[in-house]
Symmetry: C2
Subunit: 135 residues, 2 copies
């Protein structure tokens, strides 16, 4: 079951500049900033209600995000729908023959997730995510 939009991801060339814009001009607040070396990105989360705006800057030139930035420029990258059971959601999507990028859940910054191919969702890269339990 989809419970909310967890985040909307925006690819940027310079994370410092983007944080400056989204905080001081757009009017959001910065909640967290972290480096994900295995995904070759630095990211910042800015909450908006129950969701977050995620700014992503590639830190290498070879990642999918780096190639996206080189090809399409800065802008909206994907939306992330939060679910209560990511394993079951993935099974359901596979049963519905939805074209998936991941065959099993992968570890993301905030939980376990998988991506649906944009070809299967009218040009939109969609992530499904089950957040880590908070203890």
């Amino acid at each position: 079951m989809i419970t909310r939009i967890n985040h909307i991801a925006i690819v940027v060339a310079d994370l410092d500049e983007a944080i400056e814009t989204y905080r001081n001009k757009i009017g959001l607040t910065l909640a967290k900033r972290l480096t994900m070396p295995e995904q070759e990105v630095e990211i910042a989360f800015l909450p908006a209600g129950e969701s977050m705006i995620e700014l992503i800057q590639p830190i290498t030139e070879d990642s999918g995000v780096a190639k996206y930035l080189a090809k399409r420029g800065e802008g909206l990258h994907h939306i992330c729908l939060e679910v209560d059971d990511v394993e079951r959601t993935l099974e359901e999507m596979a049963e519905r023959s939805l074209q998936l990028i991941n065959e099993e859940p992968i570890r993301a910054a905030e939980g376990w997730g998988f991506f649906v191919h944009p070809k299967a969702a009218h040009g939109v890269l969609i992530e499904f995510l089950q957040p880590f339990d908070e203890d």
Copy 2:
């Protein structure tokens, strides 16, 4: 003050097909479908938590959305941040020298809003919206 993500807008070529995908494959529900003749679009709203996914199909060939679809294909179009006072938000953005598309609030499907130019927000078209009062 930004209170939540009101909606994420996705431009599609065929609204019926897109509703079919987002409802029966992605797992959302259809809340509302309407035609906005003055904006030359048909739109559908599918709730996700406190936000909505908005699917937009142009119904003419001349609108901004039609040109966007012709040039970039289907995909993410804009994000809409809900505010409690759209007039004041617009004034603040102007004071901060943020490049705006509208100089005063315009009437949208769900309230009064204005758009910030993608050049001012790292490639993202951002709408600010104050919903109509519900009586």
